[in-house]
């Protein structure tokens, strides 16, 4: 790179042709937020229909389209791209690199996403409606019995799989090759570590998902019978393939969230992360275990006893490294000097609610008990505790934490705290009662329910509207900060923050670390 400084191009071409990791990160973040609002809107339709027993607003078939698109858009459109956006912004700045290793591919891996989701959303207007088989799209409901729009869904999945694989290769190449001299692996910030491991998981499992949807495509259009029992195929095979992708997928979502929390809790505790090395090993163990537990999503398909026992024991084991992480965060806070700015509040919210989700996860791992939990609202409550209170809360914390560095302006702390409390309360009103109705026998993915579930469902819907509305406050706060927030110019926006990203100017210039920085003391010492 030449030694002359050049800023961003003018106009829309800046965004279309950019190879700058910060621009691409920004686009990923805004795109994922737009998807978050769209997926959230679908969730509001679901909760509005479930407000009372009886069918009021939508037809059962459309209800299934809503649950399907809500899941797909939140997982693939909101959470995953948001963490890729965060990785784009932060990984080069955290390891002292000038940009990502493969900047043109970086542009491409973002720009194929919007058309993919446009195509997915457009299925709503097609004859026969959007996909209505759940985000897990079990065959043969998603093949022989699906609406014609399933072909567009398959194409969309292929594209976003390609995007994810390119993004991951880029992250692996960047972390392995672009670290500043002295930035050894065991000095890398936890966020970089968790993303490196996540990227390997993505490269390993996205092709499996691509294989699954390709087999669906063959079954639908080319007369094969991979998943059709009538043609000698096996519908359970689909579930094995899907969950071989799907279980690592949930760690793909949660590991970068762990990374974020491991950055923020030390900053506001003014104390180094308690066990850096054990956090790295715990992350790697979780990633390994995630490959050998997939069939715990399938305890009721009629697996042989030996298989059932293996998957139960392996799943229970995940509690050990996950526990190590939680204990580490709490010992990091222990005897620190704690303050409770918005990012820290969201991290503490994460810690409490994610741990609750972990407990219900442990309960679900117990195969015989799962015969009563499986496919009920207990499961819905469980995975929203880990996905929303886990991934989304930590993502929100990340935005509040790094936004001042990105735009050189401070968000409104009082509005941020209000956002936290409304979110926290709204989230719990929504999802805590779902444990109750699930245990009491309410299946998931039903548009209407028996009368004994009415009170808790109404409560859940009210909570969902509160939680949904709080995200508009978040949007307002972020926009107001970017447009007219109080300027900050200190390099270290937070007095406890550690890491190379806090050594560059605020707001972060368009190009950083054109010369490799001197790497200070290892992470974990002050």
């Amino acid at each position: 790179m030449g030694d002359h400084h050049h800023g961003p191009a003018a106009g829309v071409t800046r965004w279309l042709f950019t190879t700058n990791h910060k621009d691409i990160g920004t686009m990923y973040l805004w795109f994922s937020f737009a998807m978050f609002l769209l997926g959230g809107f679908f969730a509001m339709v679901i909760r509005a229909e479930l407000f009372q027993p009886g069918m009021q607003l939508v037809e059962p078939g459309f209800f299934n389209q809503m649950t399907t698109l809500h899941g797909l858009i939140m997982v693939f459109g909101a959470i995953m791209p948001s963490f890729v956006g965060l990785a784009n912004w932060l990984i080069p700045m955290m390891i002292g690199a000038p940009d990502m290793a493969l900047p043109r591919m970086n542009n491409w891996s973002f720009w194929i996403l919007p058309p993919a989701f446009l195509m997915l959303a457009s299925t709503l207007f097609m004859e026969g409606g959007a996909p209505a088989f759940g985000w897990t799209f079990y065959a043969p409901l998603s093949t022989t019995y699906a609406a014609p729009s399933v072909t567009f869904f398959i194409f969309a999945i292929h594209i976003l799989g390609v995007s994810s694989i390119m993004g991951s290769i880029n992250i692996i190449a960047t972390v392995m090759n672009m670290r500043a001299p002295g930035m050894t692996y065991m000095k890398m910030p936890m966020f970089v570590w968790t993303w490196l491991i996540t990227a390997f998981l993505l490269v390993a499992v996205m092709p499996v998902l691509a294989g699954a949807v390709t087999m669906m495509l063959m079954d639908i259009h080319f007369g094969t019978s991979f998943f059709s029992a009538a043609g000698g195929g096996d519908p359970v095979l689909f579930q094995h393939i899907f969950w071989f992708f799907g279980h690592p997928e949930v760690y793909i979502i949660i590991l970068p969230a762990f990374g974020v929390v491991s950055q923020i809790i030390p900053a506001f505790s003014r104390k180094p992360l308690f066990g850096y090395a054990s956090m790295v090993y715990a992350t790697a163990s979780i990633a390994f275990l995630s490959f050998i537990v997939w069939a715990h999503h399938m305890y009721t398909v009629g697996m042989p006893l030996a298989g059932e026992l293996f998957f139960m024991y392996a799943t229970m084991l995940i509690a050990v490294p996950t526990g190590v992480k939680v204990f580490n965060w709490i010992t990091t806070m222990w005897r620190g000097s704690l303050t409770f700015e918005t990012p820290m509040l969201f991290c503490i919210g994460f810690l409490v609610l994610f741990t609750l989700g972990g407990f219900t996860g442990l309960m679900l791992s117990i195969a015989p008990a799962d015969f009563q939990y499986h496919d009920t609202y207990f499961v819905v409550a469980h995975f929203h505790y880990v996905m929303v209170a886990g991934a989304v809360f930590s993502m929100t914390a990340a935005i509040y934490y790094w936004l001042p560095k990105w735009c050189g302006r401070m968000y409104s702390e009082s509005m941020g705290k209000t956002h936290f409390w409304i979110s926290f309360i709204g989230f719990n009103i929504t999802f805590f009662p779902q444990h109750f109705v699930g245990l009491a026998g309410m299946p998931r993915r039903i548009p209407d329910y028996a009368l004994q579930f009415a009170d808790f469902n109404m409560m859940s819907s009210i909570g969902a509207f509160i939680y949904g509305a709080s995200q508009l406050l978040f949007l307002y706060n972020v926009v107001a900060t970017i447009v007219a927030g109080k300027p900050v110019s200190e390099e270290k926006v937070w007095d406890g923050a550690e890491g190379l990203e806090w050594t560059v100017a605020t707001p972060a210039p368009y190009h950083t670390f054109e010369e490799p920085p001197a790497v200070p003391k290892p992470v974990g010492t002050f």
Partner: protein, 370 residues
């Protein structure tokens, strides 16, 4: 703060819980259900205790180690002893959990020595029950949701067992090891009755096994628990557990009805008989998709339909074989010859379709497996 919140949450929930809202798993009526319930409670209490310790430490730290109280940060980190302890202790707790979990699972999988076998087949969106019997006189019937559309669409007040009631329940004897063989005809369903602790996926091409032994007479309700299409929420399960004597007389009566049906299929029925029976069959099998007045909905309109007004054999073939890839199922297996004849006659003469055609059971018997 968190404790105050959970207390507040309890204040919010307690009146609801008091108002007959179940908040926990039911142990149900079977021994196995009781064991699963105890396992569930055991794991939950272990989690509660661990949670109390972990959150206790966290909230103490939040309270005591805050900067606003002038607390200075210590800089300690890493301690091999502590880290080994918090790896080994949870591992030992998990091993302790694995013992009861394994023994309960072995019990769930013990399908041997059943005294009664029932084949359960999931269809979109109803269950078929077949009592397998060496004598060859198999009793088989479909079980449809009985909740009327008016209740679902809020024009009538909802009954006590809204969405959980069926036209023909599964009847099983008490104190008997009943084995369920579970499969499906189209997509994957899942047969779940919480009170008797049975949930097993119904998968086309596979036959899964599950069992129960119900000690108490009573009515136990459940639902399909695997998304199976638009009306997944509307295929309930109703199990009536009755005494052995009552069961024996029920099944004898069922066999009698089956024999009478066979006899009836040999006869020629009057148009009125066919139309009355046809309306009954239409209302239970066709109405949801094709509308009360044959106006259509999910399915095509029956009124003025070219299929219904056209060739009888083609009409019958469509109803019997269904239309692949759509919600129109193959009814050939589901309807007896009498029912098939009646519903065809009804469709061809109701809703303004005045073809005057009459289809007799004898016309049907030769063309499908009736």
């Amino acid at each position: 703060m968190g404790r105050i919140f959970s207390a507040a949450a309890w204040v919010l929930v307690a009146p609801l819980a008091g108002a007959g809202n179940q908040i926990n798993m039911s142990p149900g009526v079977t021994e196995m259900g009781g064991n699963i319930f105890e396992l569930h409670m055991l794991i939950m209490w272990i989690c509660v205790v661990i949670g109390a310790l972990v959150f206790g430490a966290m909230f103490y730290s939040i309270y005591a180690h805050r900067k606003s109280k002038g607390h200075q940060a210590s800089q300690f980190h890493e301690s091999t002893q502590v880290e080994v302890a918090w790896t080994v202790v949870p591992f030992l707790i998990l091993i302790a959990m694995a013992f009861p979990a394994t023994s309960t699972l072995l019990e769930v999988y013990d399908n041997d020595e059943s005294e009664l076998d029932i084949l359960i087949t999931g269809h979109q969106w109803k269950w078929k029950y077949e009592y397998l019997d060496d004598s060859g006189e198999t009793v088989a019937f479909f079980s449809n949701m009985a909740t009327p559309q008016e209740e679902i669409y809020n024009t009538q007040s909802k009954g006590e067992n809204y969405l959980l009631e069926v036209d023909e329940p599964l009847v099983i004897p008490t104190h008997t090891k009943v084995r369920f063989l579970i499969t499906a005809n189209d997509v994957i369903h899942s047969w779940w009755v919480p009170e008797i602790a049975v949930k097993r996926d119904a998968i086309p091409g596979f036959i899964n096994e599950a069992w129960t032994r119900v000690p108490e007479e009573g009515i136990y309700r459940g639902q399909c628990t695997e998304l199976c299409g638009a009306y997944h929420g509307f295929m309930p399960i109703e199990v009536h557990a009755v005494s052995r004597d009552e069961f024996d007389s029920w099944i004898a009566a069922k066999r009698g009805i089956a024999a009478a049906q066979t006899e009836l299929a040999m006869q020629t029925l009057s148009v009125d008989e066919l139309m009355d029976e046809g309306k009954r069959v239409y209302d239970s099998a066709c109405l949801v998709c094709h509308g009360a007045g044959g106006e259509g909905g999910v399915g095509n309109a029956i009124a003025g339909s070219p299929v219904v007004l056209g060739d009888i054999a083609a009409h019958m073939a469509l109803v019997a074989d269904g239309v692949s890839g759509t919600a129109m199922q193959a009814f050939g297996e589901q309807l007896s010859a009498v029912d098939m004849a009646a519903v065809l006659t009804y469709q061809r003469n109701a809703f303004g379709n005045n073809t005057g055609d009459v289809v007799q059971p004898g016309d049907v018997a030769g063309t499908e497996n009736g």
